[in-house]
């Protein structure tokens, strides 16, 4: 089973864990992305996230389907937040349940690594002296 969401509302860790749990699962691996207060030594004030939503959901679906195909997992949840996020807030949450922990760990790492490469979502770092779209320029 797959649960994908892109929303401007704060993500709910506990309800995501609740959803991904199954009686057959022996472990749940959760990745929680958080907003860091600095990048390359420079103080970050906030991040702003933007998404091409229909395509982002489609790419997230491809990731989820690949996970279900490659690993013996039960459920996968991928939630991403958009809009303005302050330090310590959560832009992304991935939760995966499986009978045994090895599959949950591996699938979760694959999911976040691939999301960061393929899903059309962008973040802008806001500093005291300017703003930068992450990874846009070499």
């Amino acid at each position: 089973m797959i649960d994908l969401k892109i929303s401007a509302e704060p993500l709910n860790i506990l309800s995501c864990i609740d959803w991904v749990m199954t009686p057959q699962s022996g472990g749940i691996d959760v990745f929680i992305g958080t907003v860091r207060d600095a990048t390359k030594g420079k103080r970050v004030i906030r991040l702003e996230f933007e998404a091409y939503e229909p395509m982002a959901l489609n790419e997230m679906k491809k990731i989820a389907e690949t996970v279900l195909d490659k690993w013996p997992v039960h459920k996968i949840l991928i939630h991403h937040r958009t809009g303005t996020l302050n330090i310590g807030e959560i832009p992304v949450l991935i939760a995966i349940s499986a009978a045994h922990r090895a599959a949950a760990f591996d699938a979760c790492r694959y999911a976040i690594d691939t999301l960061k490469q393929t899903v059309p979502i962008w973040k802008k770092e806001v500093f005291e002296d300017g703003e930068v779209w992450v990874a846009a320029h070499p």
Binding site: Y52, H80, V119, P120, A136
Partner: protein
């Protein structure tokens, strides 16, 4: 034909809007579109790269764009 290009992230700033009309030939390939966009908007050349999505999927350079296709410019992604 005039196509509507959806622009995101830094490309929204470069193209001057979230949705911009762009004039192309009737049988334009993605490769040609990218070259035309770079010519019209030279700041695109400063980016690490950018991709084109057609109807919500990453397009290859040989993909032909048809009237009514949803075309988007996808600068380097940075989600998560």
């Amino acid at each position: 034909m005039t196509i509507n290009i959806l622009a995101f992230g830094i490309t929204k700033e470069i193209l001057g809007g979230a949705s911009v009309g762009f004039q192309v030939g009737d049988e334009v390939t993605v490769e040609l579109l990218q070259a035309s966009l770079e010519q019209q908007y030279p700041r695109l050349q400063e980016l690490t790269s950018f991709m084109i999505a057609v109807n919500g999927t990453y397009a290859t350079s040989g993909t032909v764009i048809k009237p009514g296709d949803e075309v988007a410019i996808i600068p380097p992604v940075s989600g998560g």
